[in-house]
């Protein structure tokens, strides 16, 4: 049943109070209700970036902006926030980003262009994103263009950064960008405006949450967006997300933590040193800003990337409902294709990650057709604890070869106590093949998945222990 929701938010420079279906996506709201047509629809599933907008949120007194794909953004989440579309970036004069795109020939048919401009601008506004080529590429990881070949767009990104970086040095970015005419002045006092919006009086919410839960919506709205627009599912991201904390031997992570926040958290970076490089291979910046760990786990896709990592990290789930609160190892959570060891109304509240012991080595591998913004054909993670003489513990996971993300129980066990050597690894990867039975689909044939899974399992060892396990030796064995 559709229960409309009243929200107050800032749309570009206009403060609005509206009644909205909670899961009306911002793209439709902008284009159809507000006739703001600069935001384009290219796919309606988060894959093209033509619909990119920014959402600004007040966090400890400051507004932080993130680019997101408006085609998967429920309006019901925008209370107290700032929604910025391309129209909200336009000034009397083109901004440096806009100028650079024109100068470099970064726009041809123009359909993708507003999305690129919003994403590039968001990259400049985010203090965490470096003002260099790497930062420029990071910002547009979620945008496709079919006309240009990207050279001109990438050059535009650099040109804008070259122009702005000196002026932004050691200065807070957003106010400075406003001062130098790179952002409309209306961005200056957004925090005051948002602070004045009273919190939502959610008297309309029923006692039992209506299902399904929507976290980031990046799976659910792709699969069921049209249908849910007429419904009032629970938007579980509407309450503040708890920061990641240490509790004894564990790190406790709010299940609603986004991929982006997860990878950028210092505690996580300490536990999983290469997390940022894995992050680059998962979805895109705008999607990672929305996609949550809990959603990744509960969507139960066999190729869920974070899930494969969490499996090898021996994550445990805190599962909660008004009646219960229990802890379950993630590897026991998947009982069949899209079947979970939980009731529909149970929510994952937290994820517990054991802190790595000394001499722990972690690696994650993913191969997809396209490196960035593509679903894995196979992903795999390894956590290996090395003792004085031999391997102490191994935890291997693999995705894309079975109906669920897989923890390789037999193979992991078989390695414990063994000496690290080429033979051990080859035996293990052969044993692994007996633990799954891949099927042919759009991501590859069963034979390919067999071969690729073997290669990625090997890759853990050649990457982590290049001195002991040489690629040459492994190669010679095939």
């Amino acid at each position: 049943m559709l229960i409309k929701k009243q929200i107050t938010f800032l749309l570009n420079d206009e403060l609005l109070t509206i009644e909205t279906p909670p899961v009306l996506v911002a793209l439709d709201y902008l284009r159809k209700n507000k006739h703001l047509t600069g935001t384009k629809e290219g796919c309606k599933e988060g894959d093209c970036g033509a619909c990119t907008v920014m959402v600004g949120e007040l966090i400890s007194g400051e507004v932080k902006y993130k680019p997101v794909t408006s085609c998967l953004l429920p309006m019901g989440e925008l209370h107290g926030k700032h929604l910025v579309s391309i129209e909200g970036l336009n000034m009397n004069q083109p901004s440096p980003v806009q100028t650079a795109m024109v100068d470099c020939g970064g726009t041809q048919c123009g359909y993708c262009t507003p999305g690129f401009v919003v994403a590039m601008t968001a990259g400049l506004m985010d203090e965490e994103i470096p003002l260099n080529k790497k930062g420029a590429d990071y910002a547009i990881s979620g945008n496709l263009c079919r006309c240009t070949g990207y050279r001109s767009i990438k050059e535009a990104g650099i040109q804008a950064i070259d122009h702005l970086a000196p002026k932004l040095k050691n200065k807070p970015r957003i106010p400075t960008l406003c001062d130098i005419g790179a952002l409309p002045n209306s961005f200056q006092n957004v925090s005051e405006k948002l602070a004045k919006i009273p919190p939502l009086q959610d008297s309309t919410l029923p006692d039992t949450p209506s299902l399904p839960f929507v976290a980031g919506g990046t799976d659910l709205l792709v699969q069921r967006g049209e249908e849910l627009a007429d419904d009032s599912p629970s938007l579980i991201n509407n309450t503040p997300i708890a920061p990641i904390v240490e509790k004894g031997e564990y790190l406790v992570v709010d299940a609603r933590t986004s991929f982006e926040d997860f990878a950028n958290d210092p505690l996580i970076q300490k536990a999983v040193p290469d997390i940022l490089s894995y992050n680059d291979l998962i979805a895109s910046w705008p999607i990672r800003n929305r996609a949550t760990l809990g959603g990744n786990i509960c969507n139960a896709s066999p190729i869920a990337d974070m899930t494969s990592l969490l499996l090898a990290l021996e994550a445990e789930l805190e599962i909660e409902s008004p009646e219960t609160n229990r802890l379950l190892p993630l590897k026991n959570f998947f009982i069949g294709y899209k079947q979970l060891a939980k009731e529909g109304h149970e929510q994952i509240s937290n994820i517990h990650l054991p802190k790595p012991k000394t001499n722990t080595f972690i690696n994650w591998e993913k191969v997809s057709k396209r490196k960035i913004l593509d679903i894995a054909t196979i992903n795999s993670a390894a956590k290996i604890v090395i003792g004085n003489e031999a391997i102490n513990e191994v935890h291997l996971s693999i995705g894309g070869v079975a109906a669920t993300p897989l923890y390789l129980t037999k193979t992991s066990q078989s390695l414990a106590g063994k000496t690290l050597s080429t033979e051990t690894v080859l035996e293990a990867v052969d044993l692994a093949q007996s633990e799954f039975n891949p099927i042919s689909d759009v991501r590859g044939s069963a034979q390919y998945k067999r071969l690729l899974s073997r290669q990625l399992l090997i890759a853990h060892f050649t990457k982590l222990f290049p001195e002991t396990i040489s690629e040459e030796a492994i190669n010679a064995s095939l």
């Binding site: 599933e45 070949g149 090997i458």
Partner: protein
């Protein structure tokens, strides 16, 4: 000057069909498509759809007042399925509602019972079963059969060449508005406004002069909206006229991908014969074109495949056989290169195989056989100059091929699990529609009394920059600043009988027409002031908006000139018409001079393969391209880079997968992957031949839209070249695209798990 829409684009202010403020009472259409790829419709029920709140009407084949079948070459395609369905998601019914959402719900409420028949997706299989759209065609030169014996090496092979989704970012869409007296005005995202106008008239059973088609711009076309935007416009027009309300149809991505055709996949057999010195003596190729369910443009696409089957190479004995095969897929259609890429690929594959057998470098073999001036192609046209070879030589020198060769070798010698490779690709692409009659362009130029100018042509702006080119041409011919000139939407009421914006020829045809129109206006104006300045009209010129008499600036500026002309009752608008001379082609004999001229170039691509994981990166793509005298540098460069990018995508990531029952498995952007900014190399360099002219193109320019696409083929062979340093490739059938899957299989040909 930049692309004239740039500033609108970067601010999101440029309007596409459905961005324009909707007219009152706008209704929305959605399509109910066939659940199976092949079968006989036993029943169809749309009544439940009419019960969905907001739904107003449903249309099926029986509701078409005029001709139910459409098609530019053969009218063989029913607008809605007629008693049978021949591809998955073929439109069966259209639901009209007061919102897009309600219309979509309406389609979900439709039901049909279909007696399923086996579906064919492979063209070889279709050929075997006699499912062909046209008789087999043969192009021949020399005497292939008697030459094989004198060859030192004869190599045969098979190719499985994939198709390609257009993936224009803007899906198909159209808005149709009923007007007084039974007229209808249609705003469509089409490359072919006149074909759209004509087909709507035929479907509705009304004269063409009651249908006005207007096209402001497209969010990308690439050939996908040449013939296949028409049906959606017909549907919107049908509903608009019968309900007497404006109707809009906007396909969602999945419908667009499932319901429209793509670049034709081919299956091919080749046979190549060479001397031991590396001279290609004979080449034979059979093309089985996967045409899809209807003719669409398959015939001319296949023709260009045949014409370009020897690409840039001089071969004295050639036989090309080609047949369009009917399969249970949406009709495959025009796509940048128009069959040319499919023609060129097998010969490149043959050369790669031959190089292996002869133990020589592939590029050496290519260079030994590149056609030079004076060579006659198998369809009778001569190569008139040596610029093709010039691009090759310049690429080899400027991009330091020999240095690259030794660096690559050194890298491969010192790396076990990572290998580098490179490949060159020469391109010789004929410019013109091979259907000679389509080679005509029109332009209408208006000069207003305030000195501003409007130009309207038959060219469709789809990002390629045709509007900017037209403005640049007006600006140069008139001698005034481009900011005083606007380019209008393309409209069938202003320009009649427009050829599709295709074949790379749009700028040539319409640009030359614009020059003619501008000159006609100018000549009248000059006469007016010649009298006053007491000089000959031929001595008068305009530079930067100032009137010159010989070398000397006069007091007169453009605005005054315009006003004086107006008050002297001299015409300030003109229509220009252009048809390139010297082209003719007999499609039956396959002989003549089909092309106005050729566009040439050579591309070098470098790649690195991760031999553990089967992934690869494209490290560099470098091109020497013959552009003649370019019109607007950033626009031309954008065309070369964009074409190259699509070409690279075609041979690497872009994989259309069909289930055996004919369903497209790669039906969304989540499972069909085109290149992104990370995949395409930062090291992308385009050099233009310097100091070259082209008498055939406007202002000495050359057509640039399609030829660069084929540069991308180099990426395929660069990856293969890297793989060859790791394992020896020797597959039964050469498969393109070279996906990471294909790459890993080639790296480990002996892996098998049972």
């Amino acid at each position: 000057m930049r692309h004239c829409d740039s500033e609108l684009h970067v601010s999101g202010r440029s309007e596409y069909v459905d961005d324009v403020a909707p007219p009152a009472n706008l209704l929305h259409a959605a399509i109910f498509g066939s659940p199976v790829a092949h079968g006989i419709i036993r029943s169809l029920d749309t009544s439940k759809a009419l019960e969905v709140p907001g739904v107003i009407a449903a249309f099926t084949f029986d509701d078409i007042p005029g001709e139910g079948y459409i098609g530019q070459i053969v009218a063989d395609e029913p607008l809605f399925a007629d008693k049978k369905v021949v591809f998955h998601n073929q439109p069966i019914a259209m639901i009209i509602a007061n919102s897009h959402e309600a219309a979509r719900k309406g389609t979900l409420a439709c039901s049909t019972k279909i007696e399923e028949l086996p579906a064919i997706t492979c063209p070889r299989e279709a050929f075997k079963q006699g499912e062909i759209l046209q008789e087999l065609r043969v192009f021949e030169k020399g005497d292939v059969d008697s030459i094989w014996d004198s060859c030192d090496h004869v190599i045969t092979g098979k190719v499985d060449l994939g198709g390609q989704e257009h993936m224009y970012l803007e899906t198909n869409r159209c808005r149709a508005v009923p007007m007084e007296d039974g007229q209808i005005k249609v705003f469509s995202s089409t490359q072919s406004p006149s074909a759209t106008q004509k087909t709507i008239a035929s479907v509705l059973g009304i004269p063409m002069n009651k249908v006005e088609v207007d096209v402001k711009r497209l969010g990308g076309g690439f050939g996908g909206k040449e013939d296949q935007a028409t049906q959606w416009a017909c549907m919107a027009a049908l509903a608009a006229r019968s309900l007497n309300k404006p109707v809009q149809i906007v396909l969602n991505r999945v419908d667009d991908m499932q319901m429209t055709g793509k670049r034709h996949p081919y299956k091919q057999d080749f046979k190549i014969g060479l001397t031991k010195e590396g001279k290609i003596l004979a080449f034979e190729v059979d093309h089985y074109q996967n045409s899809g369910a209807f003719m669409d443009l398959s015939n001319p696409v296949l023709e260009r495949t045949c014409l370009h089957s020897t690409n840039s190479y001089a071969i004295e004995n050639v036989r090309i056989r080609a047949v369009p095969c009917r399969t249970n897929l949406p009709s495959n259609t025009a796509y940048r290169g128009f069959g040319g890429p499919q023609g060129m690929f097998p010969l490149e594959a043959a050369i790669a195989e031959a190089a292996k057998e002869l133990c020589v470098e592939r590029d050496w073999l290519q260079s030994q056989n590149i056609a030079q001036g004076g060579y006659t192609f198998h369809y009778g046209q001569n190569l008139e100059d040596n610029r093709l070879k010039q691009t090759w030589d310049q690429a080899v020198a400027d991009f330091d091929l020999e240095g690259l060769r030794s660096r690559t070798k050194e890298y491969n010698d010192t790396h076990t699990m990572s290998k580098k490779g490179f490949a060159l690709m020469p391109v010789c692409f004929g410019i013109s529609f091979t259907k000679t009659f389509l080679n005509q362009g029109s332009s209408l130029v208006h000069v207003y009394t305030d000195g501003t100018v409007n130009v309207t042509t038959g060219g469709i702006e789809m990002g390629q920059g045709i509007s900017s080119n037209m403005i640049a041409i007006c600006s140069r011919i008139f001698g005034i600043n481009h900011e005083r000139i606007r380019c209008n939407s393309t409209n069938t009421s202003r320009i009649a009988n427009i050829s599709p914006s295709a074949a790379s020829a749009t700028s040539d045809l319409n640009g030359n027409a614009t020059i003619i129109a501008c000159r006609e206006i100018l000549s009248g104006m000059k006469k007016v002031v010649a009298k006053e300045l007491k000089c000959d009209a031929s001595e008068i010129s305009i530079k930067d908006g100032q009137v010159y008499c010989g070398e000397n600036a006069t007091e007169l500026d453009w605005n005054t000139l315009v006003l004086k002309s107006y008050f002297s009752r001299v015409q300030l608008m003109a229509h220009g018409f252009y048809a390139p001379p010297n082209i003719s082609f007999d499609p039956i004999k396959g002989w003549g001079r089909p092309f106005h001229y050729y566009t040439y170039g050579t591309c070098l691509v470098e790649a690195t393969v991760d031999c553990l994981r089967g992934t690869y990166s494209i490290d560099a793509a470098k091109v020497v391209h013959d552009l003649g005298r370019g019109i607007i540098p950033t626009v031309d460069l954008g065309q070369v880079e964009g074409g190259l990018a699509q070409g690279i995508g075609w041979v690497t990531l872009e994989e259309l997968k069909y289930a055996d029952d004919g369903r497209l498995l790669s039906f969304a952007l989540s499972n069909y992957k085109c290149p992104d900014g990370d995949f395409l190399p930062d090291d992308l360099e385009v050099k233009f031949l310097e100091n070259v002219d082209n008498p055939g193109g406007p202002l000495g320019s050359k057509a640039v839209g399609e030829p660069p696409f084929m540069y991308g083929i180099a990426a395929y062979f660069a990856i293969r070249n890297a793989i060859d340093s790791f394992s020896s490739t020797n597959e039964d059938e050469i498969k393109c695209p070279m996906t990471p899957e294909q790459t890993l299989h080639l790296l480990y040909p002996n892996f098998e798990y049972d």
